[in-house]
Symmetry: C2
Subunit: 245 residues, 2 copies
Amino acid sequence: MDLEDYAVLLKDAINRTETIVFSCRCQVRYSGRAESYLDTGDRVVMIKSDGALLIHQPTGNAPINYMKPGTSHTLIINSGKLKLKSNNIHQKESIDVSIDKMHFFNSHKLEDAQNIIVSGTEDDMSDMIYRNPAMIEDGFKPVSQEEQTKYGFIDVMGVDKKGVLTIVECKRYCAELSAVTQLRRYVEKIMVSKGITKVRGIIAAPKITENAKKMLEDWGFEFKSINPPKYFEEYDKKQARLDVF
Amino acid sequence: MDLEDYAVLLKDAINRTETIVFSCRCQVRYSGRAESYLDTGDRVVMIKSDGALLIHQPTGNAPINYMKPGTSHTLIINSGKLKLKSNNIHQKESIDVSIDKMHFFNSHKLEDAQNIIVSGTEDDMSDMIYRNPAMIEDGFKPVSQEEQTKYGFIDVMGVDKKGVLTIVECKRYCAELSAVTQLRRYVEKIMVSKGITKVRGIIAAPKITENAKKMLEDWGFEFKSINPPKYFEEYDKKQARLDVF
DNA sequence: GGGGAGAGATGCCGC
DNA sequence: GCGGCATTTCTCCCC
């Protein structure tokens, strides 16, 4: 099969909105929000049924170039090369793939209507705190969850045992400087909008960086070490089983 | 070919550190930083030569499940299904793919030593300002670029025509609240570390959200509309050409 | 559609 | 390795 045969295969597969996977030696040019060029090498290219384009090098997690769903693709043969021109008119972006040689090609109509179910997110964490407020401290009473303010969403808002309004910002991982400035923004906003001068701020996270800790204390806020629910649970069980056998 | 044949193919390809692509009907379970389950459907699976695993549904930009480079993979046949067990001991994460049926399979040794060249980043933007300081305002003199502070990197620092220290924070897109808090953090830090009371703060970005603008003004900072270099340039040229023909 | 923030974010660079 | 942060971030949710 030569490149012209592959051009026909590709066009047909695109028209049938199949999911296409091929591998080739190519160069890639991207222009849009930024610009990039990738010189000759072997890559895996995927065109999905919604028009998304992914170009993967043989190593690394992320695609080296990509286009979002809704991209249209055209093919031409030019100077003995197969050129894939992908254009997203709405995003004002384009990718040109210049293909020297095809290593393999496949296209299939894939059926998949499933949605993924994920647990252990920041939402799960604020749920947990809302239902078990003593995790924050004795006498803490949540008042609202996911409170909407013009300056952002507040994960958990409540009152402590002395009746002082308390804002809790959850982080799944180690809290950093940005978490502290985020909390500060909420606290300041709430003080102004409610016309009160005393509002407590608490960061709930597994841990916190030293700089963030210092900034937190400088501004009179507090840190409470809390892990997101189910974190590592299944893995630890598996490891235990592996140790036994 | 039955699933046992595919198991052999997969094992061999993994041992030879080839880049593997196959499509199958499967279920996927993930456990690690969070947990997830994806019920039966058709997906494209890629295993790269560095151990990275990507599982793609027929639509959407991002992989629905993935493992980072350095993951090890084992295969077993169980209850008439082919089970791919991917484990990353360092990240304490695992994925189990239970395969009902293979649609296609391919593995290749891919050669790619190229690094991508990207332009139009935030770095390019601060470079541009450093070299053309009048873009900020008349008389602005950059003093340092990428200044390191314990509270973060300052994109451009300089003095205005009156000799007042001025900090510029660049954003490639519309600047949001977090950009303002970031700038505020730098300004406060510099005031303390240099023992001065007057420091100007400027956000340089194509645009700024209304809330961010208000917060910026509340704190006495300024906004300067600047586009990252070469942004849309090639696309606009192309469009012009299209209009002509 | 704009704005704000999480993500199993990822990846890079500097200390 | 930790920390801070940009990313062609992407995605979701809510106003």
